[in-house]
């Protein structure tokens, strides 16, 4: 059983922007897949359609044999952890509460109204925090942590869901190189030891080569490469990042930057 199956998925935004133009894609369980491509290629839209944060204009998304619809949305999301570029933690809540929000989907709204969680939920949250090596920060406000620590809390929140899939939307774009490697190592380790399928959007070719089992190259809303890191040649990379229509604009930007400097 495939983790995610996307069938002829198209996404056109109300303003007319065609972000994704007909993509067929199958993600296997336990694999580390990187979606690589330049900014504006449609990576983010593609990833966000996998857990229903965006609804496809046409085509279907199936997660572990369950088609993603209005009725199955919450149940599907429950089994998919998500890690964001801006971490998306609730800054005013402490780390523990942020991790516990990963358990909300398993609990009724009535209990959560009193901010009460079960002991088993705390056990799961503690375990997740230990996994990302942040047990000592459990009672600190999330916005007091550094970027790398916040991203690890984000991963702990995803782990608390007991997911079978983790989606990571540019997880290291806001982090320095050392922290980036830590976060990617962590995601890779989770993928391999827990057999959780990880799908990550990246724009850095180096990280992609280093961590991916499989690379999907996206440009202009279409898949233009799908294969293992070994097959990612310089020609492919050039094709991915070549955008002739804005090449002139790019030199303008450089000149403007120089003039400013």
């Amino acid at each position: 059983m495939s983790a995610i199956v996307m069938n002829n998925v198209v996404k056109t935004y109300p303003n007319g922007t065609a972000a994704v133009k007909g993509i067929n894609l199958t993600i296997e369980p336990g694999s580390f897949t990187v979606i690589l491509g330049p900014s504006g290629a449609g990576k983010s839209t593609l990833l966000r359609m996998m857990n229903g944060l965006e609804t496809p204009t046409s085509g279907t998304v199936t997660v572990h044999n369950v088609p993603l619809t209005r009725n199955t949305l919450r149940k599907v999301r429950r089994g998919i952890g998500m890690v964001f570029q801006q971490f998306n933690l609730v800054g005013r809540l402490n780390v523990m509460t942020n991790v516990l929000t990963g358990r909300l989907a398993y609990r009724s709204w009535l209990g959560s109204m009193l901010h009460l969680f079960r002991k088993e939920d705390f056990d799961i949250a503690h375990e997740a925090l230990a996994r990302v090596d942040l047990s000592d920060k459990a009672w600190i406000r999330a916005d007091q942590l550094s970027g790398g620590q916040q991203q690890r809390v984000g991963i702990a929140r995803a782990l608390a869901q007991k997911p079978r899939i983790i989606l990571a939307d540019e997880p290291v774009a806001s982090l320095d190189p050392l922290t980036s490697a830590e976060v990617l190592d962590l995601l890779k380790a989770i993928c391999k030891t827990d057999n959780i399928a990880v799908v990550a959007n990246l724009h850095q070719v180096e990280y992609t080569r280093q961590y991916a089992d499989r690379i999907i190259g996206i440009s202009g809303g279409k898949i233009i490469f799908d294969g293992p890191p070994a097959a990612l040649t310089d020609d492919v990379i050039e094709a991915l990042y070549r955008r002739p229509e804005i090449a002139t604009e790019k030199t303008d930007v450089t000149q403007a930057t120089l003039a400013y400097a």
Partner: protein, 274 residues
């Protein structure tokens, strides 16, 4: 030749928009003063009457035997404001969620809630007090209801506005876990809006104490009843004591809420678990 002093504009003159607006306001004032019979000469001719009025307030010694009743009425006034504020806050929280464009269950429900709230705000407390006094009789209860209705109108509106400006990132983060409608609002939106809520609540409490002091005029409890009677029966020595008491109470609460607001907003506030 250019003069030495210039405005920071290309031609060195005041901007047209500025002097046009000033001119317009002055013209409007000149046209409207006869309408409301505002006459400076008349006011000056009445200055000695105004002076006599103030003298009469201090003619007799302050009525010490009135002080116990004053204390009781002031306490009633403060209690009215406090109860009305708490009552309004409890109702405003869910109404604020319903009214906020990013939290409402349906755009129509949001619109209806906002319209209802603007109706609550449309009439001042005194008018609502008249309505409730006619409906359920004299006493502090209609006063409390009147204050609460207006407070809901303002508080829920401000709550909704605080919710509308919360950061969408955390909301998406919690939504992506599969959390439900209520859980997303409760765990991602409310914590972000909470400091604003506290600020609004204290401001409304402040305002309500002032409002509670006048509602007695229409028989809706509090110090206002004694206030209007002192004027009616020319007991000006009592009037000055009442005015002084109101001033002290309002200032005291103002200081208290300032201190509290500072602690909540700058002191970390919502830090449960630590």
């Amino acid at each position: 030749m250019l003069p030495k002093l210039r405005w920071p504009t290309p031609d060195g003159l005041p901007p047209k928009a500025l002097w046009m607006t000033l001119g317009g306001v002055l013209l409007l004032l000149a046209l409207s003063t006869p309408l409301v019979e505002f006459n400076l000469l008349f006011l000056i001719s009445k200055l000695d009457d105004l002076f006599m009025f103030i003298v009469r307030m201090f003619e007799k010694p302050p009525p010490l035997d009135y002080l116990p009743q004053l204390a009781e009425k002031m306490l009633e006034t403060l209690e009215m404001a406090l109860i009305a504020t708490v009552l309004a806050a409890i109702i405003s929280l869910p109404m604020g969620v319903l009214a906020a464009r990013n939290a409402t269950p349906h755009p129509w429900i949001g619109q209806i809630t906002r319209d209802l709230l603007s109706f609550f705000r449309a009439l001042p407390e005194l008018v609502w007090a008249l309505v409730f006094v006619s409906a359920i009789g004299l006493g502090p209860l209609p006063g409390i209801l009147a204050i609460a209705v207006v407070s809901i109108g303002f508080m829920a509106k401000f709550f909704a506005e605080s919710i509308e400006v919360v950061d969408t990132g955390p909301v998406e983060g919690v939504r992506a876990t599969g959390a439900g409608w209520f859980q997303v609002r409760y765990f991602a939106m409310l914590p972000q809006a909470l400091p604003d809520f506290v600020g609004t609540l204290l401001y409304v409490l402040d305002h309500n104490i002032r409002a509670a002091t006048v509602l007695g005029i229409v028989g809706a409890g509090g110090i206002g009843f004694d206030l209007i009677n002192s004027i009616r029966y020319f007991e000006f020595e009592r009037l000055i004591v009442i005015l002084l008491a109101i001033y002290l109470a309002v200032t005291l609460v103002d200081r208290l809420s300032d201190a509290l607001r500072n602690r909540v907003i700058h002191g970390g506030g919502y830090r449960h678990g630590s």
